[in-house]
Structures are given as C-alpha cells and as structure tokens.
Amino acid sequence: MSRYILRRLIAMPFLVLGIVTIAFLITTVTKGDPLTAIVAEQQMSNPEVVAAAKARWGLDRPLPERYMIYLGNLMSGDLGTSFITKRNVGTDILYRLPATLELVFAAMIFGTTLGIVLGVLAAYFRNSLIDHGARLFALFGSSLPVFWSGLGLLFIFSVVLNWLPGPGRLDARLPLPPGVTGFLTIDSLLAGNLAVFKDALWHLLLPAFVLGWTVSGTISRLVRANMLDVMSREFVLTARAKGASEFRVVIVHALRNTMVPTLTVIGYSFAYLITGAVLTETIFSWPGMGSYAVEAARALDFPAIIGVTIVGGLAFLVTNLITDILYVVANPRVRLS
C-alpha cells in the first residue's frame, strides 16, 4: 500500500512541472496583447511608454528566458505580480482561495450526503415515488444552469421570504474574525464569536446548496445504478441469510461496495468546483477563485491567469492523490497492484 502511494508521490513534481509549463504557454498562444492591460489606451501610441512597460514587466525578453525566470521565481514561492491589482498573485490567491474552499467544502458535504442518501433510497425503493422524486431532483440539479437556480433561490429565500441573507460572505457591519484558516465559519468559532459564525453560515447556505445540487444529481444517479448492481449480488443474500437487518445489509454490505466509483466522482467534482464555481461566485458576490479567474481573464492579466491555472491544476493533483489513497481504503483489491 505504501509503495502504491509512494509511486504517486514521486510522480507529483513532474506533473506539477507539466502544469506550470502548460499554464505558462497558454498565455503565449492567446491573441490578446497584455500591454493593453498595463498601459493606458492613450499611451499605446507612445513608443517610449510601451518600451518602458515592456521592460518593466519583462515582456521584451524571449519566451524561453521568461519561462526560466518564471520557474526560478516560482521555486521561491513567487507567482509574479498581477498587472491589475499590482499585488503579488500568490497573495491575491491566498486571500481568494479560502473563500472558494469554504464554499466548495460546504457544497461537497451537502451534495455528497444528499447524493448518496437519495441514490441509496432510489435504488432500494426502485420505481417508487421516492425513486421518481430523486430522479427529478437529480435532473434539475444537473440541468438547471446555476445562474438560473441561483438567482431563483436568491429571489425566493432572500427577497420574498427574507429567510436568508443576500449575496456576499458576511454582513458588512460584522467584523471579520481573525484569519486562521480563512474559513469564516471556522475562524469565527475559533474566535468564539457566535454572531459572526451564524451570519457566515447563513450566507454560505444558498451558494453551497446551488453548487451541491449539481453534484448531488450526478452522485445520486451513480450511487443508484451501482446499488442496483450490488444489491443483486449473492453476498447481499448471504448477509440476509445471516440474519442481518435491512439497514445493515444496505449500508454495511452494499453501500461500501459502491464507494469506489463514487469516490472518483466526488474527487473530480471537488477539484472542478475549485476553479469552476465561477457563475455561482459571481451571482453570490463570493470573493473566491472563480471570480478572480474571470477578472484576470477579462483583463488579460497573465500572471494572475497562470497563477489560477496552476492552483486549479494542483487542486486536481491533490484531490486525485487523496482519491487514490481512499480507493485503497475502500477497495482492498487495489492493494495488490
């Protein structure tokens, strides 16, 4: 088992280098001129200003040199300076990433739990009202665009019913808790500030639901299909013949056997949401990675774009590694390979 994980770990640096290289090269193949982001429009005709700007940002150097400089800086943890914010991209991302992670974690906890529960129920009560209801819920979850469901739910719960707050992470009148993890819910609890915790949690509910809904749709369909397959196997009959309760048969025996494909989807969804929650973050004014990526792309802010791409790539690498490790726990047959 340890050898299996070791092999994965050894491959990691090479994969990271690949991601960095591709992220860097992406910016060179785009047609847009980053100078438009740096130099004011009236100054673009002034060759001195343009030359100075190019020299200032190193855009006058040949590509291989720029790549080597970037790699060198990256080694010391420097992701470069954003054209727009003029701050270090690493600092920007460290400020944005926790917001996204908090949202994605909440969405995944919600989406996974609901997806598994619905999938199991739908399989067990196949062709019943529960099954049809779960199918409809999944269909809406995966086919409703988030800008539609997000706005609709905001309208209902925030505007009409006034049960939940509007967009944002926290009421502007409340003080930010001291940053430890960057998760407002956890930091506020660490600081013992229940009012902030409650407000942060309330703000988190809707966007987490909207994101989690899409995930729960996929997971519930997958779990249902796998449960139907597993429940027809003989070991389920053996478990019943032993005198195990239906709950035990379903949860302990059947569900654990559906975990490997489910873990794959959970891992993939998690990594995808870290950079893919763009629309949700935009609608809910969530200051996360998605909205940062959009701003960077719109302004051709190359250092920021590269930074976001690298973080997204790393998210996939790390979640894949964790998923692989969990495979071993979930499926003893993997240990042989």
Binding site: E234, R240, A241, K242, G243, A244, H253, P332
Partner: protein, 356 residues
C-alpha cells in the same frame, strides 16, 4: 394434497414427535409487470434432526426459490403461501424481525457461487464475526477468536493468518469453506446448501461435500442439499425429493429412488447419468424442455415429455401420493413397468444431457 404426506411415513420424526422442518403445500408466486406466475406450485418436505435430504431438479424447477421462500428471503414481489414449520413454529407470515433471529442462527443457508457470496470489501474474519455477533453477545475480539476456530473447523490451513485476509485472497474451494464456517457459526439446527459445489472443480467438490458431511455428522445438523447432480444425492443424502416445474414429483429414500423410481421424470433423470460400464454412443436425455413458468401445460406438467403419458395425464394433475414405500405424483406410479436403469433409453434418442 398436503394431507397425504405424513411425517410418520417419511420417517422424519425426532424424539419430540415433530420433524425439524416440515413444509406443506408451499407455493411461491411472483407478480411482474401485471402478469403473475408461480415458481413453486406445492412443495411438501420433511427434514428430521441430523438427516440429509437432497432436493433434485433442473434449473428453474423452483427448488432454490422454495427454500429461499421458506426462510423469507424471496424478493418483495413474491407471494408465499402454504406452511413451513420449523421445530413446530410457523415461519410463513412471521414478522421480518423474528425471521432475522432464526436466519443465520437456527437455520443457516449457503449459496452456489463462493466467488460472489462473500463481501469483497470485508475480511473473511470480519464476515464470520459479523454472523456470530448478530446472534450472540460477544465482543469483536471474542468473535474474531471464534472465527479462527471456525476456519480451523472447516480445515482451512493457517486460520490465524487467513482470518484477516480478504475473499480475493482465497481460492474458490477455500471461500466455500469459509462460507460454510460462517453458516455453522451459531451452531444451527438446519443448514440449507443451495448447489454448494456447482461452481467448483470436481476435486474441490468432493472436498467441500466431505467437509459438509463431517460437520453435519459432528454437529447433528439437518442438511438440505439442493442440487441438480444426482451423483451428489446418491453419495450423501438419506432421502431425496425430486422437483419438477415447481412441485415435488417423487420423494423416497436414496436406495429406493435409485433402485426403483416410481415417476417417469425420475426415471429419465437416472437414465441420463453417464455410465462407465456401458458403452453407448449417445447419452440419454429426456426429450423436450421443461415448461416455461406461467405457461404450464394442463394436467401433469411432465406429460408432454413423458413416454408413458396417456389421455388422463393431459387432464388431471396427479397429487403426491403415498404409494407404499415412497411418495410419487404420477397416475401410474404403481403400474409403471419395472425399471432397468439406463436400458430404458432407446438408442435413437437425441444427444444432450440434463443441463443445470
């Protein structure tokens, strides 16, 4: 028809005057997409304490479904009627919770395919320990220690090491031994083995059967051996029930059944056993195929394939009757010509064998 089969006549009676298991008129129907069919159309069977009873029949004859139904293990759309009494206690219609206390504890059941009858993501020991702890108040540690003993009981070498391994680390024969160990974990009174050796190599089959038999003798188990293999029955059972199209058509002791079968279907089955002493080009087979469920012929279900069939066979379904030394469901049970084993088969019959 159930009245005809008395426990006294079958000899399946223990000291208390009641057989261990007594099945009367068991029927199992399934509803599927509006249509309805009966997989079991009346099984009568007694099993005494310490007795080995073979149930023989082709696939789809209802032999497995009948025993699953007796244990309340059929699917939700099954309708089970009739009577299954275990130690005098009626099991048909018993609440699920009460049935769970009996399953795995007083009555255990093992299945055909050892490859899939163990949970692939749990260790063998954990699965045996689970069976123990579902019915006995033991700690996990105590149950695991007992699991090691049980693995040793079914002759698995190095049980201390094997107990923490997963099913995929076991061979097919060893898995079936582990399944048997799990089945006898709570010292049951009755063990139902559904084709326990069908999925195994011939040499392993013999080992598994000898493990089953030695356990059966040592623990005084009642054993129901469901099989399509008459050879298994001949070697290991005390009594046999032959099942055709969801019904018991003949029931007798093994020696009586093989010496003088009183049902044409049984005769066909015995005639189609390959015989080493006789050199025949083709193996005897019963002509035709078993009827599809839900499309049974009128009268005796066997009559379209029966070489003795007459007009009344097409109209009246014969009940299972006491014909002196055994039970037979044939109008001509007492008047069939003497049985000469394989010579019954005309040489011109088509090839093929009784498939399972």
């Amino acid at each position: 028809m159930s009245a005809q089969l008395s426990s006294a006549r079958t000899g399946a009676i223990d000291a208390a005057g009641e057989p261990l298991l007594s099945i009367r008129g068991l029927r199992v129907g399934f509803r599927k997409a509006g249509s309805q069919f009966e997989a079991v159309r009346g099984i009568d069977l007694d099993v005494a304490k310490g007795e080995v009873v073979g149930i023989v029949g082709e696939s789809g004859s209802g032999k497995s479904v009948g025993m699953l139904a007796a244990l309340g293990l059929t699917s939700k759309n099954a309708v089970v009627t009739g009577s299954v009494r275990f130690k005098g206690e009626e099991l048909v219609g018993k609440p699920a919770r009460a049935m769970r206390k009996i399953r795995g504890s007083r009555i255990a059941m093992i299945f055909q395919d050892p490859l899939s009858s163990l949970n692939p993501v749990m260790t063998v020991g954990a699965q045996i320990a689970e069976a123990i702890r579902l019915h006995q108040r033991l700690t996990h540690r105590q149950a695991m220690a007992r699991a090691v003993e049980l693995l040793a009981l079914v002759a698995i070498p190095q049980p201390e090491r094997r107990v923490s391994q997963y099913p995929h680390e076991f061979s097919g024969g060893m898995r079936q031994r582990a399944v048997i160990a799990m089945a006898v974990a709570n010292d049951p009174d009755l063990l139902i083995a559904d084709e326990p050796t069908t999925a195994l190599d011939v040499t392993v089959q013999a080992q598994i059967l000898s493990v089953l038999r030695s356990l059966q003798e040592r623990l005084g188990l009642g054993l129901v051996l469901i099989t399509h293999d008459l050879g298994v029955v001949a070697g290991h059972a005390d009594r046999v029930a032959v099942v055709y199209s969801g019904r018991v058509v003949e029931q007798a002791t093994v020696s009586q059944l093989f010496a003088d079968p009183r049902h044409p279907y049984t005769r066909g089955l015995i005639a189609s056993i390959p015989n080493l002493e006789e050199s025949r080009e083709r193996l005897f087979s019963i002509e035709g195929a078993p009827p599809a469920l839900g499309r049974l012929p009128g009268g005796c279900a066997f009559h379209p394939r029966c070489i003795y069939a007459e007009a009344r066979c097409r109209e009246q379904d014969p009940p299972l009757l006491d014909v002196g030394d055994r039970f037979s469901a044939c109008h001509f049970a007492t008047t069939l010509p003497p049985f000469h084993g394989a010579s019954l088969a005309p040489a011109s019959l088509e090839t093929g064998s009784l498939t399972s």
